[in-house]
Symmetry: C3
Subunit: 665 residues, 3 copies
């Protein structure tokens, strides 16, 4: 097993995606020199430019690739090579018209990336050819340190006849008989029961949430299978020291937001040696650092707690994201503080045409080394100077959040009132936000985990879909002394998204000491929104919050209950942030989680570096200066100053401090 085989003492990688292919003039030598000067030491190349490498079928031209690889080598810059398969060339779409993915809304047109059917045999065949050819070409290059499989792969909602036939096989395999499926999915409803497998209709019309969600699970599986397949090809060419990664992304709400609905990050990790991701975040007056923190925690967890790669993050990004002075550097430290060992901007230069010509890079369109480049230089200098202190940064979390793609999909397909009702990631974001503001370190766990013994507290937001084994594991965890915090809608359905017909929360009423059979959307109920379960607490259950409304008198809104050696809290509603903060201020200490005195906008991330020393990143997410007392005798690495315990470390607006303690305590 070679996962995370890279030595932790490797330098921090710092760089950008580089596209000679998109340049109006060749600037390789100039750019590599600028990068070197900025302290950059890695670029990512080749993904998304298939038509450059193979302009006509079977006709290859790697001139631009050599040019970049050679240029990088000359300047001591390492290279990550991406397989170019996420954007197909026109000739391939012309050769196989049905290679363009058919989705819920019909056939696609050529033009965008990620518009192909990843199950198409012709696509696979031509992918293999270009991947093999590319890997052959880059084999001689020592400075190629690793490979990225495809990019931000998704199923692209493939649901043409082939995908539907594959899905039918998937269902047959899962259920054996239509009767079993009819029952598991409740297809009798509205007369949708199948009489035989041949009756299976186009899945796109279904009103059965279970079936629709199963199709999405199948689609996620296609992504996993596709990347495993690419990995198997890459393995034939790569050196042992070269890593294999993928660029994971997240759900999107104007920026990275919650878990990715269409991909199983944790499953795909089995096909990688190290996890990578792209993180895009709000900026300017809206910068909070929350996106970097959440996405970092998630991908670090995907990566088994080891340091991961940030394969893309914004230098300037979208027009409205232009960073204030200092913010780029603050974000770089924020990513390292979440466990990144590489920060690559997307992208080096601002592209002069196409749909992302206003998604700006390190350099603006005019290639002038401007204010953003200058800030990049200071970051590069910091990383070069402090590299040995920053590498191998490991965090340890007492708290884990359990996330569930099945639950996300299930809630999406539950026919609840649209706008008012929070979606899965809204709920996840709501909880994580307070933990982030409280400076509580978290790991993020998939719903396949059964052993939670390493954590003081496990949080399960909207675990809508929970099977018996997971329920058993969570029960055992509390029984054995763990603490559990679950929200509304958890434990509501079985693994097929059938709503349980037993008492809610299913299988956990004795653990939480609570049950309910009525819920609604709050109107005119103070301090709550989105969802509201009318909780009936058991006798020895502590009521943490009630609903301040005459119609809901006598019900609890949040509860705490001892169970076995541990305890379990249940939130029946979406409290406003202030109320949630008050509740957690009380619960966390009770669960054995110390509450840091520092709070947002000062973010603190603690861990241990490769030198075995305790490290504390202090990040000031505000436009005002502040000061933080040194928690013990330490060195502030950026300034080189030493601080005795309790002496105040100054923090400029949108700026960071990095405290290192000599002795590991």
């Amino acid at each position: 097993m070679d996962r995370n085989h890279q030595h932790r003492s490797q330098p921090i990688y710092y760089g950008a995606a580089y596209y000679d292919e998109y340049m109006p003039v060749s600037r390789v030598e100039d750019d590599m020199a600028l990068m070197e000067r900025a302290g950059m030491n890695v670029i990512r190349v080749a993904e998304s430019t298939w038509s450059t490498w193979e302009p006509r079928e079977g006709e290859f031209d790697f001139t631009r690739l050599y040019r970049v690889l050679d240029g990088a080598r000359r300047h001591g810059i390492s290279v990550i090579v991406g397989t170019p398969t996420y954007a197909i060339p026109p000739w391939l779409a012309r050769k196989y018209p049905d290679i363009l993915v058919e989705t819920h809304t019909g056939p696609s047109r050529y033009g965008p990336r990620q518009n192909m059917d990843i199950t198409h045999p012709g696509y696979r065949k031509n992918c293999e050819i270009i991947i093999r050819k590319l890997l052959e070409e880059v084999q001689p290059y020592e400075n190629v340190i690793g490979f990225q499989l495809d990019n931000e792969t998704k199923p692209y909602d493939t649901c043409g006849p082939r995908a539907q036939a594959m899905f039918l096989d998937w269902l047959k395999e899962k259920f054996g008989t239509v009767e079993a499926m009819n029952k598991a999915y409740g297809l009798a409803y509205w007369s949708n029961s199948l009489g035989c497998w041949e009756d299976m209709p186009d899945v796109r019309g279904t009103i059965c949430g279970s079936l629709a969600a199963e199709f999405e699970a199948f689609q996620r599986h296609l992504v996993t299978e596709f990347l495993y397949w690419q990995r198997s090809i890459v393995d034939e060419y790569r050196r042992p020291d070269q890593f294999v990664t993928h660029n994971f992304d997240f759900d999107w709400k104007g920026c990275s937001y919650g878990i990715q609905p269409n991909v199983n990050h944790f499953d795909i990790m089995n096909g990688l040696t190290v996890a990578g991701c792209d993180i895009y975040h709000r900026s300017g007056g809206e910068l909070t650092g929350m996106e970097a923190s959440f996405c970092g925690d998630l991908i670090r967890s995907v990566n088994g707690g080891e340091n991961f790669l940030v394969l893309e993050t914004q230098a300037q990004g979208n027009t409205e994201w232009l960073p204030y002075p200092g913010q780029l550097r603050l974000q770089a430290f924020s990513l390292l503080a979440s466990g990144a060992k590489q920060i690559e901007y997307w992208h080096w230069h601002s592209i002069h045409n196409g749909i992302e010509n206003y998604w700006k890079g390190v350099l603006s369109h005019d290639f002038t080394p401007g204010v953003v480049y200058q800030e990049v230089c200071t970051i590069g200098q910091d990383l070069a100077r402090l590299g040995e202190h920053l590498t191998g940064f490991r965090r340890k979390s007492r708290v884990a959040i359990l996330v569930s793609n099945r639950s996300l999909t299930g809630i999406k397909h539950s026919a609840t009132p649209s706008e008012a009702t929070p979606q899965y990631n809204d709920c996840l974001w709501w909880l994580y936000d307070v933990l982030y503001r409280f400076n509580i370190a978290c790991d993020i766990l998939p719903d396949t985990v059964r052993d939670f013994s390493g954590y003081e507290l496990v949080i399960v937001p909207c675990l809508y879909c929970a099977g018996e084994k997971l329920i058993g594991a969570l029960r055992q965890y509390v029984e054995d002394g763990g603490h559990l915090l679950a929200t509304f809608r958890s434990f509501f359905t079985d693994e097929n998204l059938q709503i349980r017909h037993e008492s809610q929360p299913y299988g956990m009423t004795d653990v939480f000491g609570v049950t309910y059979d009525n819920f609604t959307v709050p109107m005119d109920v103070p301090d709550v929104s989105g969802w509201m379960e009318l909780l009936c607490p058991a006798e020895n259950t502590e009521v943490l919050a009630v609903y301040n409304h005459p119609a809901y008198a006598g019900y609890a809104a949040a509860t705490l209950h001892p169970f076995g050696q541990g305890s379990a809290a249940y939130l029946g509603t979406m409290l406003c942030r202030q109320k949630l903060e008050e509740l957690l201020e009380r619960l966390l200490p009770a669960f054995g989680i110390p509450l840091p005195t520092l709070r947002c906008p000062v973010i603190i991330k603690e861990g241990v570096n490769n030198l075995g020393r305790r490290m504390r990143y202090l990040l000031n997410y505000s436009d005002g200066p502040c000061a933080v007392p040194a928690p013990e005798d330490c060195v502030e690495l950026l300034s080189g100053k030493t601080y005795s315990s309790g002496v105040e470390v100054p923090l400029e607006p949108w700026n960071a401090a990095i405290l290192e303690t000599a002795d590991f305590q």
Copy 2:
């Protein structure tokens, strides 16, 4: 003629739709026992579950039906059997791919109910088979009291080639020549005149509102024809004591709202023995009782004034509708007070999958008899105890509202400014709302009525489309002493929705004593919104309201005019509610309609019961207690207390009182 043949002294039917087919475990015996305990005495079965009865073509399985019918029989519960044709099984969609309805937006997919082309011969053939088979199966059951034809039938916007060919025949029949149609519909506009019938284009593209509206009239006719056809089959099997009904629904704006645009309720009634409907309403803090009142008045009128069936209404319903304590019972009395003789919840149990799994029933998903079931029990007890007093409740209205589907469609297709301009049901709702708040009893009449002599006042909201005969009848009505209240946009077009080229309101200028040729959308005009006609009153016309804006000085906004023995008021604009209330406070007494002193939130519904006694339902739609003086010596049936005239009857929040007077006065 067997319409409404049921004896008025039959008990109030109270129950729920029951779906053994959707159950994760069989609970028939438990559920029937729970129902019996709750005082329930009727269930509706079989509609929408075709794939259960005929899982493969020609292969039938009525096990679950027998189970339910037997269980109901054991517990003294009557059964309404619905034909299962509004949701087709997968094998039928597979057999006839074109059975899936083609609409304005193209072909449909399998999955939802109501997605079939009701003109498809294969659909009809297979409908007939399953209906006959089902009716044979249930013939032995004495406790089957009636049949429901299909469910909430609509044309489903069928406009595939067959429907368009049928529509062309419909047009040929109506007009004889293309020249006649060109003229009637003004097709010369934008060069749309037909040279011959073969020129007829796909009607979906037309910009001729008359043609588009005619197509909708044709579509409504398809529904009527389809239900007549089902009735003819049912009649071959049913006993004389078994009724035939249909589940009418209404326009929808988050809940039942105004008249149903796609169905001719009054026409279809000729194919039924008793009218049924479903009524869904706002709840919790938004409960006003308005939906129950309007829909009840409409369906009672459809049913010739006789007591009707509520085949569906919510127990819990949509997540945000969870009733406050007491509201379910209040609504039950509200429905009875509108003339219902049956109240059936949709549905008994909350479904565990499919698109309505959050539309909750009497029981929540856990089948626990919860607070909603408890309230159902109290209602059942009330009905059992007071049954003979509550049956045969008849209302008498001095006021009729004339409604017009042709006008609704016409206004929809008139190219008026979208958001600002009220649609037909907005205007209907605006007027009915004040009548409801004033506790004025109303009947609702179709635009085919020609004799209005039974009413003191006829209200015609937005009678956009009015033919000569209707105009003549209304003129005669006023001439003979009736009172007419019409709103803006009335009498504007002929039966083909051609705007009249004579003075407006067409054919009625002498009746209203008013004309106008300019109208606009009010901006910055106090107290009015949506529409504004600049009325020029005749000499002996009383101006009831003017526009408070310099540009519209000299015009009237509302007028009153004597004509013959009667009088006619015209509202040229949509007054705000307060102004409309002030205007009606003045007009209604002038029209001989006494104004009750009680007003919303206390609703009063008067009538006479089977015992020949005057009944008054007092309904408190508020969260505060109040008291109402007894209008005469009476018994409050729920408490059994007697009240002398003038003594205050207390009304708890969201609660009802039912006053019965011994002597019919």
Copy 3:
């Protein structure tokens, strides 16, 4: 060259579009008499009524045309004959099903006007037949004064296979090789490079803004070519005294708004003898006169500064546009004051069916001569009485605004944040609005102009796309003493919409004395919105405005810089109106543009009439009376009163005064 050959001393034409075809009853004689009585002297006929003239293919019926032409002749009314090709008859759509245009959203349906593929050979063939036939029919009529080619022609987004094949030829012609195009459009991005011309995918899917914009340029060309082709047919029939015009319209945002994106007005003008247009404007409390002024300035400029035709404007128009008393007359003078020599209402009578039955004409549906007709009569009397003073009105502008369809399209296809970012016409409107309110006369120039020497000031709003020649001409203009005012986003891309990779504003940094490489969307920056460039001024550049936000300290928001004999101002952001007004109050005098003391709501338009006298239209766009000092000794033509210089001329609400000075100074 016979452009604008009509003698300037011809009378003002005043009339309406007339549709006997749409009449429920024939009213030709009555209507012509009403028109004559109202002082109307022109009608437009025949456009959009092909199915009346040719009800079946090859079968013609011009009865209604003769009736109207004869009626007009009897009443001394001139006629403009429109070719009827913008609305096809049903038989033509039946004959060629693919005549219905295929657009980005797929095939069209029959029904609307402007739904055909203007490149379809069958369409062209049948167009030619009906045009020739119609022109033959009207040849004998002396009172036919001119022809209108088609109506509001657009490409209707034609992108079916034929159009795409033609576009491919267009690209081949433009680029010669795919390599040249790949480079010019940056198609390497996302692997879109073509390997050969056959690889060209459906252009509708492209994510290359350059390619998408080029396709729109091609579509605009199709319109030009189509109208040239119609002109060539018309020329075979028309007399030398008969003009050829087209009805240009504008972008639309609830009313006429900015330049027309889909048509090259200036190009098409080469196929006309006189320009015509339709202008639709807000009304009632929202009337400002801005639409009439902008559209008038644009079409006057298209027409080479000569008087143009208003072929359509509203009498009543949309329901919400009903004019206040006086507004119709005010608008008539406003149009004349912008250089119109003809005002035609759309339309004479309000249509009784079809999609425009609520777009009302001079007469309401009841044909009664109502208040609008009465106001039309007063206008007609004014025109008749003052005709010789009003004809040949010429304006002279010191200021020109350079408009660019390529820039509009380019900005539309640039992937900038959607809602917050202003589109091209928003920016144009923002600037023109202040000039209008300041009573600064403007000409509007296309981006093909190279000689700006006639103007003191050239304004270039968002000149996103600028080629070397235009840049050179503007440089030279300033060098030679001209003044230039450009906004943000100008000079950003080359002619292929590739973003320049040199310093911004490209080719003009020395002219403006400013450069920038960062820009963003302002958040929480006072007084600016939509776009924000962080300008770095050169040493001798005057900073006119800065951003009041700590993150943007040190950057300029607006600048002024001397260059050669002239000067150049640059606006890096969209200032709020008040700030823009303050800035222009300072800049305009500096550029040699006197600032009138009169401001909105009093609009003044100066010029010279055919008598060689200075004319001043004073237009009061408010509901309050005011008075304006006579700028010199003059006659107020409407009242016939004389005013000595400085004496106040009274202006009633929504009313006009027309001052004529005896001596041309």
